[in-house]
């Protein structure tokens, strides 16, 4: 079965090359992925990410349920509109999915990956036992992500054209801090995203998406395909589910340690016991880690390439693997996320049978249009 978002015809009209994406026909690019990438780093672009799954959680036990379901702690969301990144783990501490959860006036809103939708919904339903909670998928909602240094002002400038209270809503949007959102009638607008640039995600009824899309394009915002979304997120050092982590990988091996709320220690979230054991393994150097590498000469690192790894004394360690690799349009050379043994100090990647040295860096390559690592 093929799904289409309410913007399908708009993508074709913009010259999109459409690809299958977990059962959705989505735009991979509108001509040049590199130009689209640069557009987001330097100006403003809009992505249709309506294929992503929105799930609303409400009921008196909504907070307690999510405190059990997620490795991060929704109690940290001390105001309506705040957002949190979290892993949803299985009992073995493997990552079922990664997601964003927003606190809403009615409870909580989760945005999970499209490729994992079926198993996520099943798992979330399974865990409701004993909680007075409603878990409801919202297929009637679409998502437009507008990112880039000019994005917020571009959105504020076209609100009137979408029949909205332009002035007051623009003020509310401009006042948002990072990882904060605001409910504006049937729209939810948040300062979240997947690019490493300033920007907004607008969750709105799917039938309203075309009007917003048209107004944005008329206002100088360019359509950006999911190809550029991938190079943007990788430059920002953000994980992609199914590539950088999955159910067989601990969040501690996926650079997701920051999203685990260990305190309060009495909060018994799913996967906690397994994570405690994995944390000990990590401290003993027995758990691999996810980190970044750059290749500053010719060539492109690709997912699945293997790495030979050495510690600081030059001892050979276990093999590593590239989990996401690409050419960085901003840096003009290749970057990658790699999973390597804990004490790896240097590594070489096997590229077409040749061992090529790569430089290890913190897995955050570009933020706000600029190179981040030394």
């Amino acid at each position: 079965m093929t799904n289409r978002t309410s913007l399908y015809q708009h993508h074709l009209d913009a010259g999109a090359k459409m690809v299958d994406f977990s059962g959705w026909e989505m735009p991979i690019n509108y001509g040049s992925q590199i130009e689209e990438h640069t557009q987001v780093r330097t100006a403003a672009g809009v992505f249709d990410v309506s294929h992503m799954t929105v799930v609303d959680v409400s009921g008196v036990d909504a907070e307690a349920y999510l405190q059990r379901l997620l490795a991060n702690d929704v109690a940290r969301l001390d105001e309506v509109g705040r957002a949190l990144y979290s892993g949803m783990l299985n009992d073995d501490g493997g990552v079922i999915d990664d997601l964003i959860v927003y606190r809403m006036t009615f409870g909580y809103r989760l945005v999970v990956n499209c490729a994992t939708r079926v198993k996520d919904l099943r798992w979330m339903a399974l865990q409701t036992t004993g909680f007075a909670v409603s878990v409801e998928e919202r297929p009637g909602l679409g998502i437009l992500a507008i990112h880039g240094p000019e994005s917020i002002e571009r959105v504020c400038a076209i609100l009137n054209d979408c029949g909205r209270e332009g002035e007051s809503e623009a003020a509310a949007i401009r006042a948002l801090g990072n990882f904060r959102g605001v409910e504006l009638g049937d729209w939810f607008v948040a300062r979240t995203g997947y690019t490493g640039e300033k920007g907004l995600e607008v969750i709105l009824p799917t039938e309203q998406a075309p009007q917003l899309w048209e107004a944005l394009l008329a206002g100088g915002v360019k359509p950006i395909g999911l190809g550029a979304r991938d190079t943007l997120r990788l430059e920002a050092g953000m994980n992609l589910y199914g590539h950088d982590m999955d159910e067989t990988v601990s969040p501690l091996s996926a650079n997701m340690g920051f999203s685990i709320a260990w305190e309060p220690s009495k909060r018994d979230f799913i996967g906690r016991a397994a994570l405690i054991a994995q944390r000990a393994e990590l401290e003993e150097g027995r758990l691999p880690i996810l980190t970044g590498v750059v290749l500053e000469e010719r060539g492109v690192l690709r997912e699945g390439q293997t790495l030979s790894c050495r510690d600081a004394d030059g001892n050979e360690l276990a093999q590593g693997v590239v989990t996401s690799g690409t050419f960085s349009p901003t840096l003009k050379h290749s970057i990658a996320l790699v999973r390597v043994p804990t004490y790896t100090a240097s590594c070489e990647v096997d590229m077409r049978g040749k061992a090529i040295p790569v430089r290890m860096v913190k897995p955050n390559f570009v933020r706000f249009g600029k190179k981040v690592f030394e």
Binding site: V19, S32, I34, L226, F327
Partner: protein, 156 residues
């Protein structure tokens, strides 16, 4: 040309050849009729006496997307038809380029080392890869003409 590492761009693998939207169709009129084509998407054109120029087709560059590196053979190398002689890396994938004909490499397009995107913009012109002194002109007969190549692309 054959992809040897396809990096999936998103949450789920994409098919090898994307569905075409409102872009230019690859029909006979856009495929130069002074070239012959390999089923692996390289073109070859006889430019002067016994010397042929080789590149990749518009269809191939379009499927690869933005090209970021091109590795070329050495001038003076003797190669056989269907040898892997060059590598083209796009944001999406790395692909081997095969020579459609046998002979000696007499010139390479060094401009591609600094401006690989030329292959995207003018694949049949400034985006050529190398020139080769033909060993056996009869090999050309085994290649596709423009019309047959257009059919081949449609059938993929």
């Amino acid at each position: 040309m054959r992809a040897n590492y396809a990096s999936d761009n998103s949450e789920q693998p994409a098919p090898a050849l994307p569905q075409r939207a409102k872009r230019e169709e690859h029909n006979v009129s856009t495929i130069p009729d002074n070239c012959k084509f390999a089923t692996s998407h390289e073109w070859v054109r006889i430019d002067e006496d016994g010397i042929a120029t080789v590149g990749i087709s518009d269809h191939a560059q379009d499927a690869l997307g933005d090209i970021v590196f091109v590795d070329l053979p050495e001038v003076g190398a003797t190669i056989h038809a269907k040898d892997e002689v060059a590598v083209v890396e796009s944001v999406k994938a790395a692909s081997d380029v095969y020579s459609p004909v046998s002979g000696e490499i007499v010139e390479i397009n060094e401009e591609l080392l600094d401006a690989p995107e030329t292959v995207n913009s003018v694949p049949y012109d400034g985006g050529w890869f190398f020139k080769i002194r033909l060993e056996d002109a009869a090999e050309l007969d085994e290649l596709l003409d423009a019309e047959a190549y257009a059919e081949h692309c449609e059938g993929e």
